[in-house]
């Protein structure tokens, strides 16, 4: 059955996919604009999808046998393709309109504190709302707020930013091997809560940070340390007994500010060489913050559209320094070393090594920061 290929047309592009493929995955095979955005669906997590409704598509022809269109827009992550099915994604007015509505809905309770949020720059919701959102809001009531919550020493939960995609719940469920439900209460009050905190002991729970499409679950060891677009993502690996050890390091100079799993073009964790999902363990993620812990493979390829690749000059050839030659072997006199004057980015201070975010105390008393 799985070898049987069926024909499906998405945005006037016909392709053959194995039976049982969802429309979303078929569209991802085409790639580019045709692939609907997905906030809750995560191909590496069983049972994910069907919650956020951003991947809605119009099915203008059900199948070869039953060519009637589907009466309503369908969630492409949960609908499998049929022989001869015709799907409209970006070619359909209705879909664009519905998606704008969904984004407005997702943003109703979102605090829009992107300038503060550590996820800014790599946030799916941020990209989505730039693509589909409105400048203003029609919501007149106070937004739902929660206090921020520390889930153990490593993970910070900002429930106000959560869009209830359930991805972290599936991670806790499927990686920790225990049956854990992370979402408590209903409707407006639903929140990710204590159950997930209970499974925090697990070595792989740090992966909830990577799967979170918004800034609800963020790395406490990276909290407010730097912005992602000032960091250089590098592919690196180490021999880890627990996980694949294949990660992306987020460096600034020699400092490792953050370690994440490698993410593919859909924002999902890449498979390792054995075809298994490259989840990484907490030790790799939170405790190996030295460049010497890792074998660097090279700079990570980041989409040119991403803000992360902004101001990153790749393949730069430095011009030959002719000054010493012209000046008889002497180097030109440095008139000012910026580090003598500037308090920012002191070379002897390693912000990446302090636990948790910097506070006013950190900057008053430099003994808190490990001198090296």
């Amino acid at each position: 059955m799985s070898e049987q290929l069926i024909k499906v047309t998405i945005d006037n592009i016909t392709l053959e996919v194995p039976a049982g493929t969802t429309i979303l995955n078929a569209a991802r095979m085409v790639g580019g604009e045709v692939a609907p955005p997905a906030m809750c669906y995560y191909s590496k997590l069983e049972g994910s999808g069907g919650k956020c409704r951003t991947c809605l598509v119009e099915v203008s022809k059900g199948s070869e046998k039953d060519p009637r269109p589907m009466p309503k827009l369908v969630a492409s992550c949960r609908t499998t393709v049929m022989e001869g099915m015709e799907v409209k994604n970006i070619t359909s007015e209705k879909v664009i309109d519905a998606r704008n509505g969904v984004v407005e809905m997702l943003l109703i309770n979102h605090p829009l504190d992107c300038p503060v949020c550590d996820q800014a720059g790599e946030c799916d919701l941020q990209d989505l709302s730039y693509g589909h959102g409105k400048a203003g809001t029609r919501y007149e009531f106070p937004r739902r707020t929660f206090d921020r919550h520390d889930l153990g020493p490593y993970i910070q939960l900002h429930m106000t930013r959560c869009i209830l995609c359930y991805r972290c719940v599936y991670v806790a469920d499927q990686l920790t091997g225990k049956r854990e439900h992370g979402v408590l209460d209903r409707g407006d009050h639903s929140q990710i809560a204590t159950y997930i905190e209970r499974s925090l002991e697990n070595d792989f729970i740090g992966n909830v940070i990577d799967v979170c499409p918004v800034g609800a679950l963020t790395d406490r060891t990276f909290r407010f340390k730097n912005r992602v677009w000032f960091l250089k993502p590098m592919n690196a690996h180490r021999d880890c007994p627990k996980c694949s050890g294949r990660v992306t390091l987020w460096n600034r100079g020699e400092e490792v500010y953050r370690v994440t799993a490698r993410k593919d073009q859909w924002g999902e964790i890449e498979n390792d060489e054995n075809g298994k999902t490259g989840w990484i363990c907490n030790e790799c993620r939170f405790e190996k913050k030295q460049t010497s812990d890792w074998v660097i493979e090279g700079p990570r390829d980041i989409s040119r559209q991403s803000v992360i690749s902004q101001n990153h000059y790749l393949k730069v050839e430095e011009p030959q320094n002719v000054l010493p030659e012209v000046m008889g072997g002497r180097n030109p006199k440095l008139l000012m070393d910026i580090h003598d004057v500037s308090d920012v980015n002191k070379p002897e201070i390693h912000l990446s090594e302090i636990q948790g975010p910097a506070t006013s105390q950190t900057f008053e008393d430099n003994s808190n920061i490990n001198p090296q």
């Binding site: 300038p115 920012v344 975010p357 910097a358 506070t359 006013s360």
Partner: protein
């Protein structure tokens, strides 16, 4: 060669006559231009007694703004540094502790914020990028100095005076008084 246009003039290489060699007429013509400037408007002013008005879109030194309660607006989001084409802005962020709510507007703030005025080209992209209305370019041109060190402006140099503590200085900085 045949001329391509009719604008070419054949150079007259005839020797000058006696009258022409006296240059009287040409000197008179030249002096007329010189003296006619006496009656024209002077293009200079007596700086520094008199100063020219700045253009309303003039961009000078940076100012870090505060809100009406005197709290710093900057959250160290880094967008100004990202937008800066000269890479003049650097910052380090910190988390606001409990009890510091009267100092900083948001959960996160810039513990250190520096503008290197040697690098700055006063393009104003930082104030356009700022999502928090925190950074503005004032009407004060960068003052000259003898040392390079004095061109590194730190947060203390950039912050506007606190409107609750120093209302007079704040008004002056805003250009209201």
């Amino acid at each position: 060669m045949q001329a391509l246009t009719n604008r070419a003039k054949v150079v007259d290489r005839k020797p000058m006559t006696f009258i022409e060699r006296l240059y009287l007429w040409n000197i008179l013509k030249g002096m007329f231009i010189t003296f006619s400037h006496i009656f024209k408007k002077r293009p200079t002013i007596n700086y520094p007694e008199k100063k020219r008005p700045f253009s309303p879109v003039f961009r000078g030194l940076h100012v870090l703004n505060r809100d009406e309660e005197g709290r710093e607006r900057c959250t160290a989001c880094g967008l100004c540094a990202l937008a800066c084409p000269a890479e003049a802005i650097t910052m380090e962020a910190a988390e606001r502790k409990i009890g510091e709510e009267h100092l900083y507007r948001e959960e996160k703030y810039a513990a250190r914020y520096e503008v290197n005025m040697l690098r700055c080209i006063f393009c104003g992209l930082c104030e356009e990028a700022c999502p928090k209305d925190a950074v503005y370019l004032s009407e004060t041109p960068a003052p000259p100095n003898f040392t390079r060190e004095s061109f590194i402006y730190k947060k203390e140099d950039l912050l506007i005076p606190d409107p609750t503590k120093e209302p007079e200085a704040f008004k002056k900085a805003k250009g209201l008084s």
